[in-house]
Subunit: 334 residues, 2 copies
């Protein structure tokens, strides 16, 4: 079967049958899942992942890998999935795919996502997600396909150096692919990870976030292979963006005040994920596998009533760090 | 100013001006708030509440009372508020008021709500809420008004006796007002406090829940004073429904397994409140005072990945207790 392709995809090799494309991106995501599992296994320095394979009644399934009580990470979850089925028109519309306009409701999605919750409040939490989404019509022709993803950093103790390390690494990685990526995706991230119900407090210091990055290019003009190469580099970016931070902070001393504040900030993480995060709320509404959807929640979280912090406390300094800012302004690119 | 009243209200005394009615119900709620604060202060046997008064920019305000690190309660929050303003038509429609049909968008609401999180996993969590809601037209005429409320019990360790104590006390209280209340409001509670995203797992063993209980009576036929007398008894029901349970369980021994399971179940409580609870989600969407809206969240909660329990464990027995059932079937009324 030959499938119709978008103009951008015509720039790549010959048209790819749907089944081959799906098998290909599924293998690609599984490879990134393995890489990320190895990476965090090494980074933890002692903990191991247990694996849980699951199937989705509507089609497809996934592989959840969870580390509990690691050396560095109190909880680390890395999940991959490849699912397919039929979307109600409203759901297709919410996804923002062109398929909604053309009547396509068959979908295929595969991706990998991770959230790690370090033991030490001196080590920030990190989240990363990359995904591929495809809409096809009844005949199996691809009507729209795109990539999405991103990574963001959530510190507890206010080390400005860590936010710079994270953003400079992401900026450098993005610039190897397109000069427009970092500024656009950094802003997108700042606008997305926000607890609007807490006076627009950011979840963390941001990073990059993108969606609907199409192989035929609006507005960046990359072909399928180049787009996927960028997304692959996003999935690999934590070696430069996160590992140096963990190594810098893993042995720093901390006390009860820092631990308690970490648990309070984790409460904000829970609030964002359950109230605002599109992937989570979509998963909960559509009866996706709940344990995979909520794998991102912290092992332990705390809620205090209206805590107040003195202006020069580390807690107040973190609040200031959460105001979106230019973290790479005077740092020369690699 | 004389206001138009519903037929049911005409059965009571002479028509009441809006301002007087509002002042009257506000005093009534403040009185119940004080009673509940005293009750939980005594029940804790040592802890004290701190009070926090707040104002709402759009009109009105509230009084939050919080106990942190009490003797019996790790956290107890009792909040009252009296707020007024203008509702967008869609919001008025969601409320289910007749005002939506008649174009009324001015509202007044006052209520008291509480959630207490005991230290010991042998002592269940309890939630209680009573409220009065009023819609008026531009001229200040009441176009609709109703009461709502309820109370529900969330045990951690499976003591069936406690669920019976709770439900029998509520049944007896309800029957002093109307034979139809307990069966209707018990079912409403079972249907409301459900984590639909967790395969319809109940938050706890239920209790009673009601809304739109109108002074002119559909379908129970009570007048304003009788309706309010019932709602007052709901607010006072915990003396019979909850105090005996606390006294029975407060000195029972428990270990790490029970404490850990308590924290996991509190995670479910967080999920219900942030994902499903109408009051909470309405508050978060409308930028109500976030610390008051989220006062119900537990001091500490835990998420584990896909925990499994052996069939005869206490955890598995609690799961069985969460299936809605008739808790008063063979217990004779008072």
């Amino acid at each position: 079967m030959t499938v119709a392709m978008h103009p951008g995809e015509l720039r790549t090799a010959a048209p790819v049958p749907v089944a081959n494309r799906r098998a290909d991106v599924t293998r690609w995501i599984a490879g990134l899942h393995d890489e990320l599992t190895s990476f965090f296994g090494r980074l933890d320095r002692g903990g191991t992942f247990t694996e849980d394979r699951w199937e989705r009644p509507g089609g497809g399934g996934g592989v959840a890998r969870v580390m509990t009580d690691g050396v560095t990470f109190e909880k680390a979850g890395i999940n991959r999935s490849a699912v397919m089925g039929v979307l109600p028109p409203a759901a297709a519309h919410r996804l923002g795919g062109r398929g909604a306009a053309t009547g396509s409701t068959h979908f295929f999605a595969t991706g990998v996502s991770l959230v790690v919750h370090p033991r030490s409040p001196m080590v920030p939490t990190v989240h990363l997600n990359v995904r591929y989404f495809e809409l096809t019509d009844e005949a199996g022709t691809i009507t729209d396909c795109w990539f999405g993803g991103g990574t963001d950093l959530t510190p507890f103790y206010p080390h400005e150096e860590d936010a710079r390390t994270f953003h400079v690494a992401l900026r450098d990685m993005c610039e190897r692919h397109h000069r427009g990526f970092y500024p656009a995706f950094k802003r997108w991230c700042d606008e997305y990870f926000v607890n609007t119900h807490r006076d627009n407090e950011a979840r963390g210091v941001g990073g990059i976030f993108f969606d609907h990055l199409r192989a035929d290019a609006d507005p960046f003009g990359l072909d399928f292979d180049s787009t996927r190469a960028f997304v692959t580099d996003v999935a690999r970016a934590l070696r430069q963006a996160y590992e140096p931070i963990v190594d810098r902070r893993r042995n720093e001393a901390f006390g009860d005040a820092e631990r308690e504040f970490q648990l309070v900030r984790r409460g904000r993480y829970v609030e964002f994920n359950l109230v605002h995060d599109r992937g989570t709320t979509f998963g909960l509404q559509t009866n996706a596998r709940v344990e995979s959807v909520l794998m991102s929640l912290p092992p332990l979280a705390m809620w205090q009533y209206a805590p107040r912090y003195s202006p020069h406390s580390f807690e107040a300094r973190l609040q200031q760090m959460l105001e979106p800012r230019d973290w790479v302004g005077d740092v020369t690119g690699a």
